[in-house]
Symmetry: C2
DNA sequence: GTCGTACTACGATCAACAACGTACTACGGT
DNA sequence: ACCGTAGTACGTTGTTGATCGTAGTACGAC
């Protein structure tokens, strides 16, 4: 069972977070994770890019500290690290969710 | 007297705004404009990049609708379009200002 | 008009990044 | 053991973007 590593809350930088959120595909992922609060597998997201590109975007989000991912069978369940982002940049996620894309 | 054009509030997209704010130099400009509320000339900003690069960053911010700029003599006075951003993406600027960079 | 200041325009370079396809791994089910 | 599913890894391509330097413009002051 592979394990993915996630940055500690203290290592989450506003720079990484904003760079990660400056892409519409990744914002779509985040928005879906905010509205459906449960962890979801990557294939639950109808993204307009190929599979390997999806992998890339999920990794960017994970490495920025925005989502957490853990293996569950052949799937990876992703969920929002709301506590972390709300601690580091309070209000950011809500502001982005509220604004229509 | 040259005139610079600015996007209408309605044309300001979250995509452009987030892309613009995903750069530390541009965030520094925005943060300074938020704390010193008056319009300031480009040379008031101690930015760690060359002059032509500064021009580039100011233009990105202006074209994203985040700042307005107008000529005043040989200088260009820049100010934050707080009303526009607060209308389009309420809470975003405050969230970014509050978070330490 | 001449000079200095403030900024722009243009062209170049280099790094970052989004996207893809193919080949691969890991796991569950049969 | 075999197959299918879910996702990764790797190498590549094309685009965007940050940076710079140099040359140029526009204005104010003298």
């Amino acid at each position: 069972m592979r394990v993915l590593d996630h940055p500690d809350a203290a290592d989450v930088t506003i720079d990484d977070v904003l760079r990660a959120l400056a892409d519409p595909v990744r914002r779509k992922i985040v928005r879906q994770l905010m509205t459906n609060r449960d962890a979801q597998s990557c294939s639950c997201f109808a993204l307009p890019v190929g599979k390997s590109t999806q992998t890339h975007h999920f990794r960017v989000l994970r490495e920025a500290g925005i989502i957490s991912q853990e293996y569950q069978g052949t799937s990876i369940m992703s969920s929002l690290r709301r506590d972390v982002i709300d601690e580091r940049i309070p209000g950011l996620l809500d502001a982005i969710l509220a604004a229509e894309d």
